[in-house]
C-alpha cells in the first residue's frame, strides 16, 4: 500500500498540490483522474520521488519514502515500474535492449536468463518479432507496450502509469488498459494510473481519486462515480454530449 499524508507541492511560489491525503491499495488499479493541469502528474511524480515535496509524508508500506536519502531510496525504487506519458524508451537502444536494461543494471542473472526474461516480458505484452527494432520504428501503442514490458522486467511491487492512453486510438487504449489490469492482478501490484480518459475509468477503476486544482475532491470506485454529488466531478465525467444525453435520459 502507498499512503500520502498532507502533501503540499509548489513551483516558483505557486502551490500545485494542496493538502493531499490518500491511500492507494495493493493488488488494485488505483486511478487519479482530473482535468489537464489539475496536478495529476505532479502528484504521481511526487509519489515516486521525481519531485521533492514541500511538506507532507509519502509512505511505501511502513517506510517513510520522502525522508530517505537518494541511496536509501534505491531499494524501494528497484520495486517500482513506471510507464511514462511519452513511453520514455531509450532512443539509442533496441526494444530488446530497453527491456533488458534494468536486468543488466540490477540483477546478476546470466545472459541466457536475461534473454529468457526479456522474451517473456515482451510476449506478455504481445510484442512479437520486434526485438531488434528501435523506438523510432514503433507505433505509439507498441511503444507503450514495450514501456510496460520494461516496467515489469524486475517484477515490481508498484506500477505507476502516467496517462497510458494518451495519443492512442480507442481500441489500442482498451488493450493497454486491459493489460495494466491483468498485470496488476497477476503480480498483486499496487498500480496507480493517471488518466482523464473516462473509458479507462469505467474499465479499470477499482479505486478512483478525483483531483481538481491540486485538491482531492472525491474518492470512490467506478460504480459510485456515476452517482456522485460532486458537481465538478460530474462536469468532468459527463463532459461530452453523449454522456450528458445518457445522464439526462437516466434521470
Amino acid at each position: 500500500m502507498i499512503s500520502v499524508k498532507n502533501l503540499y507541492k509548489s513551483f516558483n511560489g505557486k502551490t500545485i498540490l494542496k493538502d493531499i491525503s490518500v491511500s492507494f491499495e495493493s493488488g488494485k488499479t488505483n486511478l487519479i483522474i482530473g482535468r489537464s493541469g489539475s496536478g495529476k502528474t505532479v502528484l504521481l511524480k511526487s509519489i515516486v520521488g521525481l519531485h521533492e515535496i514541500d511538506s507532507g509524508e509519502i509512505w511505501y508500506e511502513d517506510t517513510l519514502f520522502n525522508k530517505l536519502h537518494f541511496k536509501e531510496r534505491k531499494e524501494i525504487r528497484s520495486e517500482i515500474g513506471m510507464l511514462f506519458q511519452g513511453s520514455a524508451l531509450f532512443d539509442s537502444l533496441t526494444v530488446e535492449q530497453n527491456v533488458r536494461f534494468p536486468l543488466d543494471m540490477f540483477t546478476e542473472k546470466t545472459p541466457e536468463e536475461k534473454d529468457e526474461r526479456v522474451n517473456f516480458c515482451l510476449k506478455r505484452v504481445n510484442i512479437i518479432n520486434a526485438n531488434h527494432l528501435f523506438p523510432s520504428e514503433l507505433s505509439g501503442g507498441m511503444k507503450k507496450r514495450v514501456a510496460i514490458a520494461r516496467a515489469i522486467a524486475l517484477n515490481p511491487k508498484y506500477l505507476f502509469c502516467d496517462e497510458p492512453n494518451s495519443g492512442l486510438d480507442p481500441i489500442t487504449a482498451i488493450l493497454i488498459d486491459a493489460l495494466i489490469k491483468e498485470l496488476t492482478e497477476e503480480y498483486s501490484m499496487t498500480t496507480i494510473v493517471n488518466t482523464h480518459d473516462m473509458n479507462s475509468v469505467m474499465e479499470i477503476g477499482e479505486k478512483i481519486v478525483f483531483i481538481s486544482d491540486g485538491e482531492i475532491l472525491w474518492e470512490g470506485n467506478k460504480n459510485e462515480i456515476l452517482n456522485s454529488d460532486c458537481e465538478i466531478l460530474n462536469d468532468f465525467v459527463f463532459a461530452n454530449a453523449l454522456a450528458k444525453k445518457l445522464r439526462s435520459s437516466n434521470r
Binding site: 520521488g49 520514455a88 532512443d91
Partner: protein, 247 residues
Amino acid sequence: MIKFLSQVGLYFLLLKKVFSRPEKPVIYYKQTMREFVYLGLTSIGIITIISFFMGAVITLQTAYNTENPIYPKYLIGLGCRDSIILEFSSTVAALILAGKVGSNIASEIGTMRVTEQIDALEIMGINSASYLILPKLVATLIFNPVLTLIGIVVGIFGGWVAGTVSGVITSENFIYGIQYAFIPYYITYSLIKMVFFAFIITSVSAFQGYYVDGGSLEVGRASTKAVVYSSVLILLFNVILTQLLLS
C-alpha cells in the same frame, strides 16, 4: 549575479553527482567504449581536414610575410610547427570540438530530459548524471589529446604539402625548420591544455543539456549555449594555462 552564482553552484553539484561511484562498472565501461566511437572516432575526420588546411595556410602566410633575405627560409617550417603545436592543435581544435561534440552532448542529454528518459533512469534508481555524463567525460579526456596529436601531425604535413607544391620553400628547408630548436615540452603543454578543454566542453555541454526545461526549442537553445559558454571558457582557460605552463 545571483542567477549566475546559482548556475555555478548547480554545475558543481552536478559534477559531484557525476563523480559518485558507478552502479555497475561493466555497464559504464560499455558506455565509455560507445562514447569513444561517437565523440572520439567520429571527430577524426573534421580534425584531419581542418588541421591540414590550417597547416597549409600558416605556411603560406608565413612565407609571404617573411619575404626578406635576412630571414632564413627554414623559419617558415619552424613557424608552422610552433603555431600548430602551441595553438592550433589544442585551442583551435577545442573550439571546433566545442561546436561538434558540445552541441551533440547538449542536444542528446537535453532530448533525453524533455522526453522523460532521464526520469525513467531516476525511477529505476540509477544516478542518471553519472550514467550519462561520466562515460562521455572519460572518453573525451582520453581521446581528445589523441586528436591533438593527429592535428599536429596532419597540420605540419599540410604545411609541408602547401610549401613544397607552391614552391615557397623546399622540402629540405621545411624539414630542417620543423626540427630546428624543437622544444618537446610544447607538445606536453598542448596535451595538458586539451585535457582541460575536453573537460570544459563535455561538462559544460552536459550541464546545459541536463537541466533543460521545456521542449525542442529549449533543447536547441541549450545546444547553442553549450557551444558559446564552452568556447568562452576555452579562451579564458587558454590564457590562464598558458601563463601557468609557459611562464
